[in-house]
Each structure stands twice: as structure tokens, then as C-alpha cells.
């Protein structure tokens, strides 16, 4: 049984009413990971959206075949925050890899194959969730952009 007090605070579910939460809650199952365990990496097919219940998850920027220098932690995801956005966003390819960053991580997992049909059947739920999710992906973009600008700016200053 999913805890609705938790669900209503998940960053992309905050605009949903009780009946909408009940509908989407049916898609979620609880899963656990240990420190350092991979939740997903960019080579995998994004199949699920995840919400952190307990612990912290780090999102890494890793480009296949690139030097280790280009690997960096973009952000850390904690309680009520989501990961696996690419499961709901075309072209459905992971951009960041996710690892459990604390001794124990407890997450809720919802399969894309459950969420997308629900959004199509009830577009109000789809709109409210995707509206919030756009804010999350935008925030991640700004975090990467800030890092990129910092690097490019430093490069320009170093070579002036």
C-alpha cells in the first residue's frame, strides 16, 4: 500500500487531488538499493519514473567513450524528488546515470507502461504531472548549463 502522505509531496505530484493520486499511486511499487548500487545508467532503456522515499541518489553526467574528466555529479536527489524523467520524455534516452549515494536508498518506481496510458486516458493528470516535470527537467538543464558556462568562462579567461 502506497503512503499517500508521501505521494502528495512528490515534486511532480503536488497538484493532484486525492482521486488523481489514487489513480497514479496504483502504478508505483517500492524498491531498495544499497550504497554505490546503480539505479540506472545511460546505456539502459528508460522504463520507469522513480521517487526517492529515503536516502540520496546522485545523478552523474557520463558520456560514452569520453575521458573520465567529463564525468561529474550534476546533482543529488533526496526525499520527494524524482529521477528517470527520460521514461516520460521523448526521445526516451537517459541523459544522466543514477547511483544510490547513501547506505540505504528506498524508492518508489512507476513503469512508463502504466503511466503513459493513464495520462492518455485522463489528460488532466497528464497535464498536471508533465507541467511539474517540465520544471524539474528545466532545473536540471540550468544546473548543467551553469557548470558548462563556468568551464567555458574559465577556459576563455585562461586563454585570453
Amino acid at each position: 500500500m502506497i503512503d499517500f502522505d508521501f505521494l502528495e509531496n512528490v515534486e511532480v505530484l503536488q497538484d493532484l487531488d486525492d482521486s488523481q493520486l489514487s489513480a497514479i499511486g496504483a502504478c508505483f511499487n517500492e524498491v531498495s538499493f544499497q550504497r554505490g548500487e546503480e539505479i540506472f545508467d545511460i546505456s539502459k532503456e528508460p522504463e520507469a519514473l522513480w521517487a526517492v522515499m529515503e536516502g540520496e541518489v546522485s545523478l552523474h553526467h557520463e558520456m560514452p567513450g569520453a575521458a573520465p574528466l567529463t564525468e561529474m555529479t550534476i546533482t543529488t536527489i533526496s526525499r520527494y524528488m524524482i529521477l528517470g524523467i527520460s521514461s516520460l520524455v521523448k526521445p526516451h534516452r537517459y541523459i544522466l546515470s543514477a547511483y544510490c549515494a547513501t547506505r540505504h536508498c528506498r524508492l518508489l518506481k512507476a513503469e512508463r507502461d502504466c503511466l503513459i496510458p493513464l495520462f492518455e486516458e485522463d489528460p488532466r493528470i497528464g497535464y498536471l504531472v508533465m507541467n511539474r516535470l517540465t520544471g524539474v527537467v528545466g532545473k536540471r538543464f540550468h544546473q548543467v548549463q551553469e557548470e558548462f558556462v563556468k568551464r567555458r568562462g574559465q577556459d576563455l579567461l585562461n586563454h585570453w
Binding site: G126, L133, F148, W160
Partner: protein, 260 residues
């Protein structure tokens, strides 16, 4: 669909709809939904060098490029090198200003027209949100599309970051007996302090044997990736501050302390 359009107006509307159908964020919207969007579009034209919006401005509009090229850039205080400061380039049917749908609803970087002229469509965010409140299916499709646009841009940005990897800077403090007796240990410690203070993860410091310039000890070599190494002589902890701030952070070689 509004049936009271005149012949010319209907032709203009159809042209608008044909264009909007090609815009990624309106993909999968039907003709009625596109017509509703079209009612909120305002056409604007800019000339080369004009700024469409600035960093930090309240993001109240979504912008779609109709003709020409616009560039997202970042500013470095006191420097003006627009070509190297370009983060992304946007052309016809592409969308900018999605910050209007992302908290804190402020444009994060300035955008300039870089072709001879730029024609864009501006749509008020509030206008679109009102449409979505009345038509959730439209809102769902739009938000899915705009999240996809941001996601694609995020991937492109990451690929750019790989093309422009962070500069590596290697600092070598030469620490044979002659260097140590001249104060090389204090010099090494001073570099560590500067790195800690500046929080630079791309600067590495190591010790290495004498380079045969014993009369100028302590010697330090600074090597910035892609540039000739620079050897400094008679380096003191005070000189380390200047070398770090001027050469390592700003690229200004301290020629008066160089040894050849």
C-alpha cells in the same frame, strides 16, 4: 475554428497553421488547438545584434523563430567575444524562452539576433496556460513536447561540454635538496592553500626533482593544457599568490619571475 475569417485572413491563418505544425512544442496538436494558439501569436522582427531578451529578465513569453538565426550566449564581465561565448544556436521553427515554464520563471541567458534580420513569434505564457486549463489534452501534449525540447537541448549541451573539456593545469614544484633548502616545501603548501581557497578541481600540484637551475630555486613549472610550460624561479609563498591569481586563473604569465 473561427468561421468569420475573410478570404485573406483565412489564407494568413492557414499559413500560420502550416508553420505552427512544424514547431516541435506544438507537435500532435489538432487544427482547432493550433488555431487557438495562433490567436496568441505576435510577430516581431529584429536586426543583427539586437537582444531579444536578457539574463535575469522575468520570463513571460515563449519565442519561436520564424526566419533567421538567434544565439544563446553568456556574458563575461569586461570581455566581449560573442562567438566563443555562444551556448546554442536556434533557427526556424525552434523554440526559445522555455524558462517561462520553469521556476523561477526568469531567462537564464541573453539571446541575440545573429542573422541580418530575425523574425520571431512571441506568445504570452499566461495565454497558453489559460488554453491548457480549458483543454488538458492540449496542455498534456504541449508540456510533454516542451520537456522533450529541454531534454534534447540538455543532451546537446552535454555533448558540447565534451567538445570543450575543462582546462587541465599542472603545477610542479621542484623539490630536490637544493629546492627544499631554498623553501620549496612552503611553496608547495602555498599552492595547496590557493587551490583550497579557489575551489579549483582542474589544478593539480605535484613535486618533482631538480631541473638544474639551482641558483634560481625554488623553481615551479606551470603547464596549462595546450600551452608551453612556464618555469618560474625564486618562488616564495607570496609569489605563489600572484602566480595562482594572475597566471593560473586569468592566463597572465608573470614574465618578471620566469627563468629560461
Amino acid at each position: 475554428m473561427n468561421m468569420s475569417y475573410s478570404g485573406d485572413e483565412k489564407e494568413a491563418l492557414m499559413a500560420h497553421l502550416d508553420f505552427l505544425k512544424k514547431v516541435h512544442v506544438f507537435g500532435e496538436l489538432n487544427d482547432d488547438q493550433l488555431t487557438a494558439v495562433s490567436d496568441g501569436c505576435v510577430e516581431k522582427e529584429y536586426r543583427k545584434g539586437d537582444k531579444l531578451f536578457d539574463e535575469g529578465e522575468n520570463a513571460r513569453h515563449l519565442w519561436i523563430v520564424v526566419d533567421g538565426t538567434v544565439e544563446v550566449r553568456f556574458n563575461l564581465p569586461g570581455y566581449d567575444a560573442p562567438q566563443t561565448n555562444t551556448v546554442s544556436v536556434t533557427s526556424s521553427t525552434q523554440t526559445i524562452g522555455w524558462s517561462s515554464f520553469v521556476p523561477p520563471y526568469k531567462y537564464s541567458l541573453p539571446v541575440y539576433c545573429t542573422s541580418k534580420t530575425c523574425k520571431v513569434l512571441k506568445i504570452r505564457k499566461d495565454f497558453l496556460l489559460n488554453l491548457f486549463e480549458r483543454d488538458s489534452k492540449m496542455g498534456y501534449l504541449f508540456m510533454s513536447n516542451i520537456a522533450s525540447v529541454i531534454s534534447i537541448m540538455l543532451r546537446q549541451l552535454q555533448e558540447s561540454a565534451v567538445e570543450f573539456p575543462q582546462t587541465r593545469i599542472d603545477v610542479t614544484v621542484h623539490m630536490s635538496t637544493c629546492g627544499i633548502s631554498a623553501g620549496a616545501r612552503k611553496v608547495l603548501a602555498a599552492f595547496y592553500e590557493e587551490i583550497d581557497r579557489a575551489g579549483n578541481s582542474n589544478v593539480s600540484v605535484k613535486s618533482a626533482p631538480c631541473i638544474g637551475k639551482c641558483s634560481n630555486e625554488p623553481n615551479v613549472t606551470v603547464e596549462i593544457s595546450g600551452e608551453e610550460p612556464v618555469i618560474y624561479g625564486k618562488v616564495s609563498p607570496e609569489k605563489v599568490k600572484s602566480i595562482f591569481t594572475e597566471h593560473i586563473l586569468k592566463g597572465n604569465i608573470q614574465k618578471e619571475w620566469m627563468v629560461h
